[in-house]
Amino acid sequence: MAHTARLGELAGGLTTAITGVQEGDSALRVIKDTALKGLRVQTHARTNHFAVRDRYAGLVEKLTVRNRDDVADALQVRLAELGIDAVNTGKLDSQSKWLPEVLSLLLELSDRPVEKTNLQDLIRLTKTTTPPPPLTWEDIVADDPLDEDGIWDDVERGYHSSGDDSGSDEGQSEPTTSTAATSVGEDDCAALAVMHLVALDESALDGFKAASIDGEDETSEGAGSPTTWSALMLVRETFMMLHGLPSRTYSMDAVSGLIKIKHDIALETVTRSTLHHTCERLADIGTRLQYLRIWTRRSQKAAYLQSIQSAVEKLLTQFALAINELEGQYITPLHDTVVSIASIRAQAETLSRPLVRLAEVFQHVESTSTTENQAFTILDGLYDEASITQMSGDDKVFFAVVSVLLAGVQTYVRPVRDWAESGTTPSTGANDIFILDRDPNCDSSSVWHQRWTLRTTSSGDVYAPRFMQPFVERIAAQGKAQAFLKLLTPTLEHDMAIYSARTSTILFSPDFNTFLPFAQLFDDSLSSWLEASGSDRTALLRSTLLQEYSLLTTFESLAYVFFAKDGTLFQEFANAVLELIRRRPSTWQDRFILTSLAQSRLGSAAHLDGSSITMTIHETDDRNRRLVIRQLEDLQLHLALPWPVRNITRSNTLPIHAAAFTLLLQTEHASALLRPTLFTLRTLDKRTSSLPAEHHTVFQLRWKLTWFVNAWRAHISTTVASLHTTLLLDIQHAETVDNMAAVWTAYEHGLRNALLLAENLAPMKEAILEILEMSEHFAILWKELFPALSFSDSTASTTTNQGDAQVEEGKAGARVTARLGDFGRSLSFIIAGLRSVSRAGGYAELEGLLQRLEAHPS
């Protein structure tokens, strides 16, 4: 009963909560009874806890899949708080045994949480909780009243606290070096540097100065009586002077370094003249040394001069150390020592001889060099001095000079090495070498010949020291090969960078005992260095051009394109062009159509890219009034060459080849005009004796023209074939790009001469073209003489249409005779011309033509 009552009570409460019907409402009882009846239904199966767990796991997964990670995470957290890890472990350690049933109820009542759940509702719910009240002193005091003994007593501090300090001014304390060094954001570098400086104690020298001015007042320049000094004093002053320090005895000019004896001094044991002479000699040595010191302090832009300065400073340091040793003998004598200015002089001369000689070299160079040639005069001067000292047998001076020279040379050759090994010119003006990058942005087809040149002085000499002159050409060629190779193969630069790090110093061991002159030794060292650097990439460049860039294949294709090596292709092209001329006599010069014909016919040769062939038309006004032979001269065939090949041919176009092709085309046209008439002869009466005279003449003309055209074509074919074969052989044997360019130039020269394209051979070429024109006139005459037999071939009819202005009126026979005469005259002119050039020499290619023409039929 109690359970039933409890159930009824709860059902009533639930009904009120859901429907809002309050107690006392009559409807509540009905609703409550209905609800209670429904609650008592026992037909439902018991809740499966594992099924509930799985359903929640599935719901979490569904929420995650549907991109409701926020809801899924919130749900998982709450389930975990209840002790249920539905997703990960499937744990069902719920805090209450009825929890699965409650969760099952919530699942039954859930209404599409994936779509409808709004997390903000949950956040609003959790935020509605009131925050805890702020903590007040009353609460603290209430929890922990402040009534402990001694709570208000002073605390005895066992440590230094900042509160004990009084009167300290933080602003005036200087930061220590360590704090300042580690302080972040310290911008005052000058202040930082000042802290590390040690101030000079000027007073340290006061005692020394006071001791050294004894007797200073007694001496004065220009005084009448000399001052008597002790030898030790004089020696001390001499050492000071040799060190370049101020002394009482010697005066020093700060600018020139000139040292003179300041006072007229005397020693008790030495005569005045001897002493004066000795001091003058010492002053002279000091002057040279001081000059060197001043020279080494000068600012030099060129790196090799800085290296020379450094080397000289090393020698000066060694000299100073030697002088210190001498001084040491007098400061702490280990044995009885005689103080002798003469001895000092002798030792100073010995020790300073290399430096004095160097000073003389520099002074001589300075006095003789002009603005233009002073760039390497020091190196040249040192080089000459080394040779001289070697020959004179002065090994000490020799080694000193060589060490200074080598220091400068090692630095000088660094940009030279960079050039030789990697083809890179130095970027700064002060380190310019003899290679000038004239035009970094020049066209790639003229890089080899125009970009890098030798830098020369105004007098025409190469901008390099004299000892480098024998190597200039070789280094320039090597560097140019490297630079060109870098352009051909950009990935090679990385390898070059690694390679160039290997060796960079010139190894020179001056063996004084050798009989070889210094110049020879030095040249050998330079040669060895150059070879050891392994920078000669000429062979690699050659193989790259020949293989990777298909230089040989490109040159081979010239024969197919320009010289009709494949007669079939050329014949097809020629026929197509002549057909075009026949069909469109006034508009056949269409660049695009002709290019298309050339690409489709000539471009179909093996190893040839047809798209590289183009044709251009030279625009003229009187095109339609000229014979076809002359109109064909307006055509120009072009073959696009790769830029490395153009560096060898030195031309973007190939005018000689284009002219040769035009000649072949003209010859083919003439031959085509003469060829069809052969077959029409068969229809004539075989009784030749009954033929009229003019028929004989026209046959004779045809025969001679045919012979000439064949001879001329044979000459072209054989000569260009021979020249082309020679070109291919010579190119393969050429070592350098310059050699290849020379081979090409010689080949073009031969071609120009063989085809009479040179200016001085133009009259002969004109005569040949006139003979070829006769073929067109012949075709007209043949039609007139044999109208019934005239083959209605394309070219003849074309010339008939176009050559009207050229055709003379009158009897055909007379014209034939006239043509025969013209032919004879032209032929004679050509033969005479060829004979004269043969006598002049240098035209070996024309001898074959001369022989052919001399064997002409009479």
Binding site: H3, R6, L7, L10, A11, G13, L14, T15, A17, I18, T19, G20, I31, T34, A35, G38, L39, R40, V41, Q42, H44, A45, R46, T47, L59, V71, A74, L75, R78, L79, E81, L82, Q95, S96, W98, L99, E101, V102, L103, S104, L105, L106, L107, E108, L109, S110, D111, R112, P113, K116, T117, D121, L122, L125, T126
Partner: protein, 75 residues
């Protein structure tokens, strides 16, 4: 034992809070009081499916009642 009762009550309160948050996440439209009644009913042996069915019927009845009231008010 009042401390133990307090902690029990506190635990029960926290459990109801969590269940209420879960019911919000599941979009059950149950307020806290209703949820408390439901938990009590289940603890008293009511089958959750039967209870869910009863609650749905009560909602439907409520909607009908509200619709009738709205219809009467409109006329």
């Amino acid at each position: 034992m009042p401390a133990a009762d307090d902690s029990k009550r506190k635990a029960a309160r926290e459990t109801i809070d969590i269940l209420h948050e879960i019911s919000i996440l599941l979009n059950t439209n149950l307020d806290r009081q209703s949820l408390s009644y439901c938990v009590s009913l289940i603890e008293n042996g009511v089958n959750p499916e039967a209870l869910a069915k009863v609650i749905k019927e009560l909602w439907a009845q409520n909607e009908r009642h509200n619709a009738e009231k709205a219809g009467i008010a409109a006329t």
